[in-house]
């Protein structure tokens, strides 16, 4: 691929093309534009973050005091399980894919993703999987309640909610696999001439490796939950000792997925941080090559450490020792990364706009989380910390102050380019500092709770844990409120922010920002409508059999059916998920589909 078609549109007549492209909501449903899809991913993930966050707040509210105040224990378990699943599969992973969709093509000079139509599907599977997952709350027996790790036999005991969760996991897995194939192919095949692998921005590298991890482990998770499904309903004995199976088998398969999964959640963040730090230090990234090798080593090692989540199942000493050593080894490449970031700042000429603040906050607190991970990797210590709040503290440090903070930084960093408008720096700083402070108030005390022996996944606790739990709960609400600042800052920027300068960050050095005069990038600073029309023109340089576009009427029909669908869900909820409710729901969906199909078939 030699150059970027987008800019060919400049000065090209667009009106006659226009008709084939649906507008309004249909534009978003049918889009094959990587930028649109990236935007969809990011909004979806933010919404899921709020959904999961509200569940976290319910958890924290219940844990504010010992005793049962707000929720039943069973419902508490459901909240916790779905909180974990929603945050991981709904918030963090899709956000990372959103960044990849926006940035990978821009950073390597590709016209779009390799499989633009499939890209649309990767995204549009997610809201449906989310519906599936969240609707499990209203079916008889409620949502899955065995923890996000879904360990059998507990997960074999529960009701229909578990099945919905399993299918949701299948669908989200399919989405991740398709998304990753797309990203990996784009990177391998569609780099602009001269963009050799070792010249790719580090963000692209981290995503290349992340995509590889995803393709390798998502199918394994699919296999694990499939076995769970057959154990639940078809009498297989994979996880049942009576038939010769073993509950621990599930744990092995799950964590073979699960550990690479945690690096899937952190590597793109590493990439974002590696983009931001040099930009604001006005100095090239230190140790590019060693960063690439470190990322690769982390990925390879991540396949060999899974049983560090299972030190208490009673494995032989040899197993414990092996998994302990390999786990500890991961600290080495991670150390390289941390040192390289610090060395990049060293003797730079630093400024501290919001993206930089988040990046620095990331390094600082991710390292705290990394160190507690290291503490957990030592088998004897893990024996007394496993399944306590110490683990909860560890993973929120790496996930919230790690992944999530890097994503916030990334949004502030690229928003000027994506929307053409600048965010409000004061708001951004407020968002950072409140998040930083409240985050630590929420999660730092959890280390003490864990050390003192408070187990995780409990709705109630002994009185000596009260004080720190109160602190954590207060912090959680503060942290939640801080996120409203973010929402406000982003909305304000998109709607009424001042136009962003041609090169928003003077220090940035990647293809996407470096040269705003290039035809491709000019487009970014145009207003949305103009931009869209230009894309339409460039999309199709050769005549293609045209598909019918959507019109107002279809949109209306779909909308009304969506309302019925929603009504169906509510009905199902009120009738306790009785057949009638599910029936209404089913018909609503069928109706929705019929319209969608008719739209397509009537060429």
């Amino acid at each position: 691929m030699s150059s970027i078609p987008h800019d060919h549109a400049a000065g090209h007549g667009v009106d006659h093309e226009h008709a084939h492209h649906p507008g309004g909501i249909m534009r978003w449903i049918t889009t094959t534009n990587h930028k649109d899809i990236g935007t969809l991913y990011l909004w979806f993930s933010f919404i899921m973050f709020l959904v999961g966050g509200v569940m976290a707040l319910a958890i924290r509210a219940e844990l504010f005091q010992p005793g049962l105040q707000l929720v039943e224990p069973e419902f508490f378990n459901q909240l916790n399980t779905v909180h974990g699943l929603v945050m991981i599969f709904g918030a963090i992973m899709p956000a990372a894919v959103g960044f990849a969709n926006w940035q990978v093509p821009l950073m390597i000079g590709a016209p779009d993703m390799a499989f633009a139509r499939m890209n649309n599907w990767s995204f549009w599977l997610l809201p449906f999987a989310a519906v599936l997952l969240l609707s499990s709350f209203i079916v008889p027996g409620g949502a899955a309640s065995a923890g996000w790790t879904l360990y059998p036999p507990l997960s074999v005991q529960t009701g229909m909610g578990m099945d919905l969760t399993i299918f949701a996991v299948h669908i989200m897995g399919a989405s991740s696999i398709m998304g990753s194939i797309n990203i990996i192919t784009t990177i391998l095949n569609m780099r602009a001439p001269g963009m050799t692998m070792m010249k790719m921005p580090l963000f692209v590298w981290t995503w290349l490796i992340t995509a590889y991890l995803l393709i390798a482990v998502m199918p394994v998770l699919a296999g694990a939950v499939t076995m769970l499904l057959t154990d639940r309903h078809f009498g297989t004995s994979f996880f049942n000792a009576a038939g010769g199976g073993d509950p621990v088998l599930f744990q092995h398969i799950f964590w073979f997925f699960g550990h690479p999964e945690v690096y899937i959640m952190i590597l793109p963040s590493f990439g974002i941080v590696s983009t931001i730090i040099p930009a604001f230090a006005r100095k090239p990234l230190f140790g590019y090559a060693s960063m690439v090798y470190a990322t690769g080593s982390i990925a390879i090692l991540s396949f060999l450490v899974w049983a560090h989540h299972m030190f208490t199942v009673g494995m032989p000493a040899a197993g414990q020792v092996f998994f302990m050593y390999v786990t500890m080894l991961i600290a080495v490449p991670t150390a390289v990364k941390v040192f390289n970031w610090v060395a990049t700042m060293w003797k730079g000429s630093m400024t501290f706009e919001t993206p930089m603040l988040f990046a620095i906050g990331f390094i600082f607190m991710f390292t705290v989380g990394g160190f507690t991970g290291l503490v957990l990797s030592l088998v004897p210590v893990d024996i007394v910390l496993h399944d306590t709040y110490y683990v909860v503290a560890h993973f929120h440090y790496v996930l919230v102050a790690g992944s999530l903070f890097a994503f916030f930084g990334g949004i502030y960093y690229w928003l000027p380019k994506w929307s053409g408008r600048m965010y409000d720096e004061t708001l951004g700083k407020w968002h950072f500092w409140t998040s930083f402070v409240f985050f630590n108030i929420t999660f730092f005390p959890m280390h003490f709770l864990g050390l003192a022996g408070m187990p995780r996944r409990v709705p109630d606790y002994a009185t000596q844990f009260t004080d720190w739990n109160e602190v954590a709960s207060i912090g959680a609400f503060g942290f939640g409120l801080s996120q409203l600042i973010f929402l406000y800052a982003v909305l304000k920027a998109i709607r009424s922010g001042p136009p962003a300068p041609a090169r928003p960050w003077e220090g940035s050095d990647t293809l996407d920002i470096r040269d705003p005069a290039a035809g491709e990038l000019k487009r970014i600073y145009l207003k949305r409508n103009e931009r869209l029309m230009m894309e339409h023109a460039t999309r199709r340089e050769r005549p293609v059999p045209a598909q019918r576009g959507a019109n107002m009427r279809t949109a209306l029909i779909l909308l009304s059916i969506a309302v019925v669908l929603f009504g169906g869900v509510i009905a199902a909820g009120y009738s306790g998920g009785s057949t009638a409710g599910i029936g209404v729901l089913g018909f609503a969906i069928i109706g929705f589909l019929l319209v969608a199909i008719l739209r397509n078939v009537r060429r």
Binding site: G141, N240, Y288, V313, M324, D387, T388
Partner: protein, 392 residues
């Protein structure tokens, strides 16, 4: 991080001075919520009471210090740089971007540090795994949601149920000192003896977790896992189930009373006698009152957590027994349901088999009780002999 004197968990409640290290965080917290001034009571592992736990404690302190030192080192550099190399101070950016020597050095040094962590950790692992030549073997079985202890060497065993009253949990009654960490019958072991634990489960995975002893072992249904502990001193130590096991996971406490050899011998003798006395005469015919009274207890201890004390169950998860077709139908069906549990599609459901947990009399009693409680008025009386006949 000096280790505090070994004390029982409960004895540690006295106000502890704010450790310096915590002062920063605490000050913040205090400024925020004055009422929480006492918050920093706990900041390290529980005081260890076994040799293994002591090793773990020391290992943790050692590792923590290494981490703190590295942390301070790395971030001193970073914050110095943030302070000194900023544009507002007019600092010009250097343009270097690699240095092979430095990069190799800071790959090798962390590696070496890790070796220094791995060696003591490995030593402790090997010690932890050595379950040979125990003085006493206790089988521990987790079930939803209580633990049972079987003294295999002495041929008796018993259940250990949560003792905290519901009113404290749900109705905001003042919470007792050992809220949630108290049981009717603790596990009792002698100090200074090596106790081998055979840990298993009868339904889902639980985990037997006694932090002060440095023991956590998953209880896996269908498998026995072994572990061991040896207490330095007497006292009462508390922990709880650590693996999510369903709705009552938070209410599955573990209490171990460590007695001196003499006290333990006394306890053992008493317990054996009591166990013998409790063994009922299987051929006795029981009258309704006796059965219902006993059944009420059995129900409260075993069934009420799911089917609720009201017999109304939990919609969607646990069927109501009040008015249930099974409970008001033919009695043999119900006896068999309770004996064998409910199996669907070849998988046991939450309704597990009770035949190995409950005696004929207990089952007869609980079935009689359920058939004559709430709105169920079958008037039937089930004798232990009938249960016996339905076994097999």
């Amino acid at each position: 991080m000096k280790r505090r004197g070994a004390m029982a968990r409960g004895a540690m409640k006295s106000a502890h001075p704010l450790p310096k290290k915590m002062a920063g965080t605490a000050a913040l917290v205090v400024a925020l919520v004055p009422a929480l001034a006492q918050a920093a009571k706990e900041y390290n592992l529980q005081a260890p009471v076994t040799p293994i736990a002591t090793q773990i404690f020391d290992l943790h302190v050692y590792i923590m210090w290494i981490c703190v030192v590295i942390f301070v080192g790395v971030f001193s550099v970073m914050f110095y740089s943030i302070f000194a190399h900023r544009k507002s101070k007019g600092h010009q950016a250097a343009q270097f971007h690699e240095n092979t020597l430095v990069e190799v050095v800071w790959t090798v040094i962390p590696f070496l540090i890790l070796v220094f962590m791995a060696v003591p950790a490995t030593r402790t692992i090997l010690a932890m795994k050595d379950t040979a030549v125990p003085d006493l073997t206790v089988k521990i079985t987790g079930s939803q949601w209580k633990w049972s202890y079987d003294y295999l060497d002495h041929g008796f065993g018993y259940y250990s149920n949560l003792k905290t009253p519901v009113a404290q949990i749900e109705e905001g009654e003042p919470k007792g000192e050992h809220y949630l960490l108290e049981v009717d019958e603790p596990m009792v072991v002698p100090a200074g003896k090596k106790i081998r634990l055979l840990i298993t489960s009868s339904d889902v995975i639980h985990a037997w977790f006694l932090p002060a002893a440095g023991v956590q072992q998953d209880a896996i249904p269908g498998f026995v896992r072994d572990d061991w502990m040896k207490f330095d001193k007497t006292g009462t130590f508390r922990g709880q189930c650590a693996k999510i096991c369903g709705k009552e996971h938070g209410y599955m406490p573990i209490v171990v009373e460590v007695k001196s050899a003499d006290d333990y011998a006394k306890w053992l003798a008493e317990h054996k006698k009591a166990a013998l006395a409790a063994a009922d005469d299987p051929n006795k015919t029981w009258d309704v009152k006796e059965l219902i009274a006993r059944g009420e207890k059995v129900y409260a201890a075993n069934c009420a957590s799911c089917h609720q004390p009201t017999g109304k169950g939990v919609a969607g998860a646990f069927p109501a027994l009040d008015g249930s077709k099974v409970v008001t139908g033919p009695k043999d069906d119900q006896i068999k349901t309770v004996l064998n549990g409910v199996v669907r599609n070849g998988q046991p459901t939450a309704m597990v088999a009770w035949k190995s947990t409950l005696s004929d009399i207990d089952i007869a009693a609980v079935v009689t009780y359920t058939r004559n409680s709430w709105s169920n008025h079958t008037g039937e009386v089930i004798q232990p002999a009938e249960v016996k006949a339905d076994r097999s």
